[in-house]
């Protein structure tokens, strides 16, 4: 009968001890100490790449870093596609990782404005040495350098089924009007020209963004990205009308409008590169290549190939490339993190991943020859040499408007796909949604 009395305080003691240890661990991970001479410490890094999508390649980048800084341990956590959610919750709860990769500049800006991020001005010279000024600009928010664009995807690409183009007797078009003409020829050959993955709203915004960029050039594109131009602007109307020439050509889209709304991005790729072809081309980024090789039998050059999104108005466009990318940000500041960020801006870091493919970089000290195959070289080289780069517009905007499934831009462009003749109506809706999202 004595035992309970002994157990109770003992248990309470254990509980208190456990809580103490837990808080101890938590605070220890927050303050990674550094030695005065050799840099050492642990960096926690939350990333989007998982075992199937690049964790191994990023591990090789870390390995290359550890050759220079053996005492810094980079603790990479593969969070996967839920990264924005996980990160937002971690930041709101006050326990962010040391570093993270964020695909949406809108989110970076939000964190920077809330004072959650640490500037990486110490890496300015390293970035200036390796990147064109446009890239530093992409990482600058509220006038300060907060992010490094470590990995970039070329979004100004069109992928085509080579046998389908051959059967129609057309070659990769250089201008948009040629593309529209070729599309009619392809249709007459018995294959729908376009494969559209409209179930994923972002494939539609990407198409619009390329059209807008090719019509009005980077300056106006950036103005629309930041809502300095309203969505009711006549330039948006023109771009939407140009877009309607593609998405309104329903008999030339595989599955027609209803099919386009049901097929996601992956379906749109597998449909276009099936044998025999169900459609001839897909408007999407460099990562289409990976989907083709992993889920179809098409072979590079003989089965599939890619060309740069054709020019619409040659003047203002001036060879701009739209990219999406991984912005590396830091939530803390210490010598280990500084060393890692500087290393990531170096050509060695980019080469460690680039030679394995599936990677684009704006680091111009990386030779294009590093890419393992001709298709990757063709799709990534434009980024290296681009005169100007712009970030994916929908990623640049407040997420509620630019990147939320079924609402904002993604949802409204799906409505536009359903009814491409209602340009003014969709403009009004876009403007209303943008206004609401920017007000927050």
């Amino acid at each position: 009968m004595r035992k309970p009395r002994v157990i109770v305080p003992a248990a309470l003691a254990v509980l208190v001890l456990a809580v103490l240890v837990a808080t101890q661990i938590a605070s220890a991970s927050r303050t990674s100490k550094s030695g005065a001479t050799a840099v050492s410490g642990t960096i926690t890094f939350d990333g989007i790449w998982t075992a199937s999508s690049g964790q191994k390649q990023f591990a090789d980048v870390i390995k290359a870093f550890n050759k220079l800084y053996p005492k810094v341990h980079v603790n990479y956590k593969p969070v996967g596609n839920n990264l924005p959610t996980v990160l937002a919750t971690a930041v709101a709860g006050g326990h962010p990782p040391d570093m993270a990769d964020i695909a949406q500049p809108g989110t970076v800006k939000q964190f920077a404005t809330e004072g959650k991020l640490k500037p990486i001005t110490y890496a300015t010279s390293a970035i200036n040495k390796n990147f064109a000024p446009a890239w530093r600009q992409l990482g600058t928010f509220n006038g300060k350098l907060y992010a490094l664009v470590f990995k970039a995807a070329n979004k100004s690409l069109v992928w085509y089924n080579v046998p389908a183009f051959k059967a129609a007797g057309v070659t990769a078009p250089k201008t948009f009007s040629q593309l529209l003409k070729d599309a009619q020829t392809i249709k007459a050959s018995g294959t729908p020209a376009y494969s559209i993955g409209g179930a994923d709203g972002w494939t539609l915004t990407d198409l619009f963004e390329n059209i807008y960029l090719r019509t009005y050039g980077p300056a106006k594109y950036d103005a629309l990205s930041t809502h300095k131009i309203k969505w009711t602007d006549p330039s948006v109307a023109t771009a939407l009308k140009t877009m309607a020439k593609i998405i309104g050509d329903t008999s030339n889209i595989y599955g027609g409008t209803s099919g386009a709304l049901q097929y996601g991005f992956n379906d749109s790729v597998t449909n276009a590169f099936a044998s025999p072809a169900k459609a001839a081309m897909v408007f999407e980024a460099d990562f289409v290549g990976g989907v083709i090789t992993s889920s179809t039998k098409a072979k590079p050059k003989t089965g599939f190939n890619t060309f740069t999104f054709p020019s619409i108005t040659p003047g203002p466009d001036a060879g701009a490339v739209e990219i999406a990318g991984d912005l590396f940000v830091t939530f803390r500041d210490n010598p280990a993190i500084e060393a890692f960020v500087k290393f990531l801006a170096s050509p060695q870091a980019a080469e460690a991943w680039a030679k394995q493919g599936g990677f684009g970089t704006g680091n111009h000290n990386v030779p294009a020859s590093i890419y393992p195959d001709p298709i990757t070289r063709a799709s990534e080289a434009p980024i290296l040499t681009a005169k100007s780069v712009v970030f994916d517009m929908s990623d640049n905007q407040p997420p509620a408007f630019g990147s939320t499934t079924g609402q904002g831009e993604w949802g409204l462009f799906q409505q536009f796909l359903k009814n491409p003749s209602d340009v003014a109506g969709i403009q009004a809706k876009l403007e209303a949604a943008a206004k609401a999202a920017y007000k927050k």
Partner: protein, 437 residues
């Protein structure tokens, strides 16, 4: 710590502490994972979108909830779910349970109906999404429709073909008519495009323009396309004839006077045509479209499609619970009813159902709670382009709070609203548990 006197009861404090010790883990768990989040969510719902708390906004979030169109759609859809699913699931479960009492292979049947319960709702959603695909080549549901339709009216050999020039036009009924008056000795060129290479009929040869012959009307029907496009309406080198296409000759009043079939080079001849004005036409059945499938995942059918898939999952659960209730039902009452001359329907209606009422209401109420919280199947089954149409409260909460929206204020308000909807149903359930105990 002084030891208590031997052989005495532990003091009041000791008993209290023992109780506390046993309760601590449960209270700790409940506190950390249930009470704290619930209270935080309620408080959070009165604050702005970002941060741990953000700024005080009063009931603005609740106003947003009832004025934003996609959130209102979500509430309406949940109402449809509550109105349809619990009743149907209970009814279907009851029918299955009663029927399985009377069939052989009842165990096999029950297993088959119960099996969907063993699959996660997410996997079910993915599976049904594939089954609902509009393309009959992909979706099982539409493939069934295609099989049935092909028996009734098969697709034409050149279903995708369209005329290459505007002189050939679709007449009522789907036939293609050459709008060029023909006289004996004339020539009819019927050019068609948009025919995939693999759909060109077997044995097709280079198309030729047959020489005209007095008294006959000759012509050719061909694939008016060569790489690069070629000249529309002109038979060129590299363009194939379309063999086996049935061509009709119609007189001025539109009546078919002769029919023939094209040869391997696409040419055809109407012999000994009396003088007059004629039109050449390719019959409609050549262009009969194959079954294109219903848009199960489209805006009009998405909600019913979701309901069907969800009922498919839960019918098995209802059946098993109701069958258990049936098994424990006193048989003598049924016997008595039958002895008294009640028909099977009367026995079912007046004896079985009333006796099963408690079980049926358990199923019904459980389903209401499940349906109010429905999330994963909508997330997995509906294409993103139809989320706006298929939206439900839990999904709206997830997208508003955690996906790009990042609005924890409105997200919390939606969660609280959902919580308030579930509470009365839960209270009902708890009261019945107490009564049963």
């Amino acid at each position: 710590m002084a030891a208590p006197p031997p052989d005495s009861e532990p003091g009041k404090l000791g008993r209290y502490l023992t109780g506390a010790l046993f309760l601590t883990p449960a209270i700790f768990m409940l506190g950390v994972w249930m009470v704290y989040p619930a209270v935080y969510t309620i408080i959070r719902s009165f604050f702005g979108p970002q941060g741990f708390f953000g700024t005080w906004v009063g009931i603005d979030n609740y106003k947003t909830l009832f004025t934003t169109s996609n959130l209102v759609t979500a509430i309406k859809n949940n109402a449809i779910w509550v109105a349809v699913v619990p009743a149907l699931v209970t009814a279907i479960g009851l029918i299955f349970a009663v029927l399985t009492e009377r069939v052989r292979w009842a165990v096999a049947f029950k297993t088959a109906v119960f099996l969907p319960m063993a699959i996660s709702a997410f996997a079910t959603g993915v599976t049904w999404r594939i089954m609902y695909q509009q393309d009959p080549g992909l979706g099982a549901v539409n493939a069934l429709g295609k099989t049935l339709k092909d028996i009734v009216s098969p697709a034409g050999v050149l279903s995708s073909a369209v005329p290459s020039t505007s002189s050939l036009q679709t007449a009522s009924g789907g036939a293609l008519v050459l709008h060029k008056p023909l006289h004996p000795g004339g020539l009819a060129l019927l050019g068609l495009t948009a025919i995939p290479p693999d759909q060109v009929p077997h044995g097709a040869k280079q198309a030729v323009t047959p020489p005209t012959k007095s008294g006959d009307i000759v012509g050719t029907v061909w694939r008016d396309f060569k790489p690069g496009g070629g000249k529309p309406g002109v038979v060129e080198q590299g363009e194939l004839g379309l063999p086996g296409v049935s061509v009709d000759l119609r007189n001025a009043s539109g009546k078919t006077v002769q029919s023939t079939s094209s040869g391997s080079d696409g040419s055809f001849t109407f012999k000994n045509v009396p003088s007059g004005t004629y039109e050449a036409a390719v019959s409609a059945k050549t262009f009969a479209k194959p079954f294109g499938g219903y848009g199960w995942l489209g805006p009009n059918l998405i909600v019913p499609s979701l309901l069907i898939a969800y009922i498919w999952i839960w019918a098995g659960f209802a059946m098993v619970v109701i069958a258990a209730g049936l098994a424990s039902m006193p048989r003598d009452v049924l016997e008595a009813a039958r002895t008294d001359g009640a028909t099977e329907w009367q026995t079912f209606r007046r004896v079985t159902v009333p006796l099963l009422a408690p079980v049926l209401s358990v199923v019904f109420v459980t389903m209401i709670i499940n349906v109010l919280k429905v999330f994963d199947i909508v997330y997995a089954l509906a294409p993103e382009s139809e989320y706006a149409k298929a939206n439900v409260i839990a999904l709206a909460m997830y997208f508003t709070a955690f996906q790009g929206g990042g609005n924890f204020g409105v997200g919390s308000a939606i969660a609280v609203f959902l919580f308030l909807l579930v509470i009365p149903v839960l209270a009902l359930n708890i009261r019945r548990f107490k009564r049963d105990a």
